[in-house]
């Protein structure tokens, strides 16, 4: 175990290098030495040390500079500074700059062995933490795939056979049996949808959509959202009215997720409306931001629930059992809108209806991303051309 550990010692005193090498090699470690900072840093790549001792006072590159560059080369390498008693304060400073510990000169072989063991133990912990974090990220990334395949596949197979069965036996079922079969399929559908929704919340890194932001026409987003909601609205006899000014600038964003956000809002408006009711969606430009408002005249949200509706797993108590979702629609919507640098608010009067307002940055000028526009000077012009 110890023999696998690699220690690099950087010191301008040959005596120190020689004695350190002797002590460490006797203890079974693999050792490399360097007489100055620059050549020490060169060894980091090929020698790949677990632990580096750095003398703070060296001609040429200072120990502080070596520490700094070491951290940029590989922040997981543990560094310990060697220093004289007179420079204890600089040892503290070195630790503030990322050194794990310091070793005052002169030191005994036993002190050196002890601090080496401690440094390597620290390295082991750092690596373990890193491995755990990597594993967690992997699990997070692949969770969707695992759950999808393992949970959805059997459900899809069951549903597929029920669909077939229901056509095969269509003529020979009594009304009550037909209704029961329909309910069974309805429940499986709901279960599949619930899995889909959870997957979206758990596995989606919404920050990633920012990479694909472009000027997006609000009209297109609304039209696509209306397409998705229209069947549900038609079934309840609900009319969805739209009100748009003639010229509305595009918004800076991702069409797919914006449609999803609006589908959620419109879907809720329809779901919580009374049959044969009316839902309004309006858009306007206000101070460089596009405001979209979705209003229904439905059952409304009780005042004590209103502050919580955008939280994860919130479920309204007002809906009928059939209209209940899994309580993630508004949470996803909020996350999507926030990823777009937008805002979302809700107002509601129980028994009178609810209004959801969201604002999104209009894409009339350069995108609100200074870092990317700085590296891509043509972006502003390109955006202006499209918008």
């Amino acid at each position: 175990m110890a023999s696998e550990a690699r220690v690099l010692v950087i010191d301008d005193e040959q005596v120190v290098l020689d004695s350190c090498r002797q002590i460490l090699e006797l203890a079974g470690y693999t050792v490399a030495t360097a007489a100055d900072g620059a050549s020490g840093l060169e060894r980091v790549d090929d020698f790949a040390p677990d632990l580096v001792f750095v003398d703070l006072k060296m001609p040429g590159l200072s120990g502080f500079e070596v520490l700094k560059r070491l951290r940029t080369l590989d922040p997981t390498i543990v560094a310990i500074v060697i220093t004289g008693y007179a420079t204890l304060s600089s040892a503290v400073e070195a630790m503030q700059k990322g050194a794990y510990d310091f070793l005052p000169k002169p030191f005994t072989p036993e002190e050196f062995r002890l601090i080496t063991r401690r440094g390597l133990e620290k390295r082991r912990l750092v690596q373990q933490t890193l491995a755990l974090r990597r594993e967690k990220e992997m699990l997070r990334e692949h969770f969707a795939t695992i759950v999808s395949h393992e949970l959805k596949s059997p459900l899809a197979a069951v549903q597929q056979n029920l669909l077939l069965l229901s056509t095969e036996v269509a003529g020979s079922l009594a009304e009550a049996q037909r209704r029961r079969l329909e309910r069974v399929m309805g429940r499986i559908d709901a279960l599949l949808q619930m899995i889909n929704t959870w997957l979206r919340v758990i596995s989606t890194d919404l920050d990633k959509i920012k990479e694909g932001f472009r000027p997006t026409a609000v009209g297109t987003v609304v039209a696509k959202a209306l397409d998705a909601v229209q069947p549900l609205a038609a079934r309840k006899g609900i009319e969805i009215q739209t009100a748009f000014p003639d010229a509305l600038p595009p918004v800076w964003g991702d069409e797919g997720t914006l449609v999803e956000a609006l589908v959620n809002l419109l879907g809720n408006a329809v779901k919580y409306s009374h049959p044969d009711g009316r839902v309004d969606i309006a858009a306007s430009l206000e101070g460089g931001r596009v405001r979209i408002t979705v209003t229904d005249a439905g059952i409304g949200i009780p005042p004590d629930e209103l502050p919580h509706i955008f939280g994860d797993f919130y479920r309204g108590t007002g809906g009928t059992a059939a209209g209940m979702g899994v309580g993630l629609g508004l949470a996803i919507t909020r996350r999507i809108i926030e990823a777009h640098d937008g805002t979302i608010t809700a107002e509601s009067v129980p028994g009178r209806g609810s209004t959801f307002r969201l604002t999104l940055p209009a894409a009339v000028a350069a995108p609100p991303a200074p870092a990317s526009s700085a590296t891509e000077p043509t972006q502003a012009a390109r955006v202006g051309g499209v918008g």
């Binding site: 969707a144 795939t145 999808s148 395949h149 959805k152 596949s153 059997p154 459900l155 899809a156 197979a157 069951v158 549903q159 597929q160 056979n161 669909l163 077939l164 056509t167 095969e168 599949l192 889909n196 997957l199 979206r200 596995s203 989606t204 990633k208 959509i209 696509k224 397409d227 998705a228 991702d254 797919g256 997720t257 449609v259 999803e260 589908v263």
Partner: protein, 139 residues
């Protein structure tokens, strides 16, 4: 068109296959099945069907995607109209209801998510077969 169209299903879930096979056979199609990508590819080469229904996520990884890529390299197999049926739409793209994104792994492919509405399945199969017939007449 006296002969019924020949369809092939490549999917590793026998229960799911039974579910769509019944629908397709009920509509008069002749249906062959392969339950893994390797047997599927051999069957495709031996006797190319008029239309392929392919699960792209068989086995440990996306073995169906590999199969589709192999098909694309083959001048004859790449022309088979293919209905890609998948249980995991999320991984293909960042999606939202009703707006399935096409992977377009093959020149002529359509994407459907499991479970598939029987009538929708029959509509898509017919549309793909009709389009292929029109291409043959034109070409």
């Amino acid at each position: 068109m006296s002969q019924p169209a020949r369809l092939m299903i490549i999917d590793d879930d026998p229960d799911f296959v039974a579910g769509i096979r019944g629908v397709l056979e009920g509509a008069g199609y002749q249906v062959d099945v392969a339950y893994n990508p390797r047997a599927g590819f051999e069957a495709l080469r031996r006797r190319p069907p008029d239309l392929l229904l392919l699960d792209i996520l068989m086995g440990r990884g996306a073995e169906g995607v590999m199969l589709a890529r192999k098909m694309r390299k083959d001048p004859q197999l790449s022309q088979i109209p293919t209905l890609i049926i998948t249980g995991v739409r999320e991984q293909i793209a960042f999606l939202f209801p009703g707006q399935a994104v096409h992977p377009h792994i093959l020149p002529v492919d359509e994407l459907m998510e499991k479970p598939v509405d029987p009538q929708l399945l029959l509509d898509r199969v017919k549309a793909l077969l009709d389009a292929a017939a029109r291409r043959r007449e034109a070409g």
